[in-house]
Symmetry: C2
Subunit: 421 residues, 2 copies
């Protein structure tokens, strides 16, 4: 660890300077820097685990949950996964320099729209030290300088990881400032979030508290990782067994993540056949159920309390599910657009018109027909790694991958063209 940490403004200025040269480097140089990080992590795994052990020791004396300590903890296996992650990112195709569009104008000007790095991306994160390496690799791969701000509980782990990455990238010829680590409390987040002209984007990776802290103060652009109030709608024509599998998967496969289902909507015609066994299976798996009157009437034997208005708006992130019966696809779409968070929404149906209406009418980042909402993920979509998921509509919607860490510019080549009056 450096004895005197540079100020946040200085770190951001160094990052901006580095970003100018990063933007001009070929992918070979950036990929070689990532490989250098991977090698250095291999060589210094012991040091990483020692630093992490000290963080863990200090955290055990503090008031942290077991879940927090688990997120904080590194092991040889977790470091290996981090290293494999860096190499996976290095192997992805380069988003920088991709010409997404182009034409020759009537006056002979050649216009190309080209993907270029954003510049400086700041990532603010909690607990998990692996984000230090993960975020740095994604940003460098996309030609961006990165300013990392981890939590104080992981200070020693983050410091050694950043030191290793900074040293490796410097040896690989990247400019100083390509990776920066800043420390500090909530007031420092505010300082980071107001570095207009230096920081081009902030991505918070953490809980609602972190997002709220940013929302109040940020003047630089922020992409907020999404909350997901996701729905599965079982339409009247759905194949019941497939519908049941999709509902169980969407709720149970990993209940604590944003693309898990939080509300089940069922068409009235299929509810009496579909709901009893499905709700029993959910309850057997430990799911607490909250149903509207029609759902309770359709499955009178289910262990299900009465849903309140609030249930439709709640992202449980737990073994808990709201259940409602609707009269048709239109009503399902209305419910989803009124209560959903625009993340991932699924219809199960054999009716083409219902599938089409659902796809057209639901206002969400990812709309599924006959598949689980759990597929919303950059890796699953073939985009490579992701740094989060967005429910915003501007810039990035859905998985935030390498391309979403880029902007574009228009390159226009002429032979002396001037604009006529």
């Amino acid at each position: 660890m450096a004895t005197t940490a540079p100020s946040i403004a200085d770190s951001c200025l160094a990052a901006k300077r580095a970003s100018r040269t990063l933007a001009t480097l070929g992918s070979e140089v950036r990929d070689a820097a990532l490989e250098a990080i991977a090698v250095a992590l291999e060589q210094r795994t012991e040091e990483i685990l020692e630093a992490n052990a000290k963080d863990l020791e200090a955290a055990r004396d503090g008031d942290y949950s077991a879940a927090f300590l688990d997120k904080l903890a590194l092991s040889e296996r977790r470091v290996d996964a981090m290293i494999a992650g860096v190499r996976t990112i290095a192997a992805l195709s380069d988003p920088v320099g991709v010409v997404t569009e182009g034409r020759r104008l009537p006056n002979g000007l050649e216009v190309r729209k080209v993907q270029v790095p954003l510049g400086v991306v700041a990532v603010v994160y909690e607990a998990r030290p692996n984000v230090t390496i993960d975020a740095a690799a994604l940003c460098l791969k996309s030609g961006n300088a990165v300013v990392l701000r981890g939590s104080s509980a992981a200070a020693r782990s983050n410091a050694i990881l950043a030191e290793i990455a900074i040293g490796a990238t410097r040896d690989a010829g990247l400019a100083d400032g390509s990776i920066g680590l800043v420390a500090g409390g909530r007031e420092d987040i505010a300082e980071l979030a107001t570095q207009n002209g230096l920081v081009d984007l902030i991505i918070p990776r953490g809980g609602e508290g972190l997002k709220a802290a940013l929302k109040g103060v940020a003047t630089v652009p922020v992409i907020y990782a999404a909350s997901g109030n996701c729905h599965v709608y079982v339409e009247a024509s759905a194949e019941p067994e497939s519908a049941r599998q999709i509902v169980l998967n969407a709720k149970l496969q990993r209940p604590g993540v944003c693309n898990a289902a939080e509300t089940l909507l069922v068409h009235a015609d299929i509810a009496p056949d579909f709901l009893p066994a499905t709700l029993a299976a959910l309850a057997d798996a430990g799911v607490t159920l909250h149903g509207d009157d029609r759902a309770r009437a359709a499955a009178p034997g289910a262990r299900m309390d009465s849903a309140s208005e609030q249930d439709w708006d709640t992202e449980y992130l737990a073994l808990e599910l709201a259940v409602a019966v609707v009269d048709g696809t239109e009503q399902a779409i209305e419910h989803i657009n009124a209560h959903g968070s625009g993340h991932s929404e699924a219809i199960v149906t054999r009716d083409l018109a219902a599938a089409q209406a659902f796809q057209l009418g639901v206002d969400a980042a990812c709309v599924y027909v006959n598949a689980s909402t759990r597929f919303t993920d950059g890796q699953e979509y073939g985009m490579g790694a992701e740094i989060g998921n967005s429910t915003q509509k501007l810039h990035a919607r859905g998985p935030i991958g390498l391309r979403e860490l880029c902007t574009y510019k228009y390159l226009v080549e002429g032979s002396g063209q001037i604009r006529p009056d």
Copy 2:
């Protein structure tokens, strides 16, 4: 004019409701609505001119400049241009439903990334009543509902234009709320800019005062129309006559707009040959010149005062130009990245390496080689009409056309896929 105007929140709610059906309409319906607006404007031109005459009369009693009154004024010719503009927008290709990417995943899921409307776009504008129709047409064409907020000086003109457009779109079968007009002062802008969940984007079209008013209060996404501190860099190998034409065009063709040049950078090797005649031509055209010491030494006879540090950062929007001599392309790029606003930047050169370095190194929306900066324009780029120009890096950079009024969603179709553990 309605006797009781609906509240801003009510207008935005109506717009959000309308946006749900607008998003599902085929382009035929939206295009027919635009044609209906054009026809209604033709039929009711007299009423428009009468209302505008009243606005003008009231404004003449107020403390407004001649330039403001000119912007406010409508004539038969200007209404005809408005009508032609609506038909031009209707004839553009539909941005909604365009599949920009797609693939079949290994598990058989079919993923499509599809352009969809943002939802509700609010446009806040000053003086020019034609923006009422222009903005409405662009938003409807891209499947968005629009909430218009014009200036009080144009209240009567905007009211009759909006009434005509609202009536025509209603007759054409669009939902109520597809077009809304709200009035009021600065505090109402704040209300509009905080309609989270109802307004998906605000675009201010006006001066710095309007932008500043929004910056302090907006919690919904805003795309700020750009200010442009644009440069022309004449490299050592430039063909002098072509360079002179580009400099004169970039400064003189329309000095009051954001893509006009504000600083001329000249390579030291060509400065003594290039500057004297070029600066004389600029001065003859009425341009006030501010030069650094080297520029003044290279053109000792030029009418040019000494540039201050502030000149490099000033967007004159007038017949005024800063001039500096640089030692090479790298120094030119550094100057531009330090002082430019990231709008439009040009190099004039016959050296391929210099052109490439400039394109790669300059961080701006539009980078020109051997062409005037004045070409930055959605129309010129073949994008059709534009609603403004962005120097932001997220979502829209450069001309904001129909596509930039869209977001996207992922449509994923399966046959019962669930995510394995």
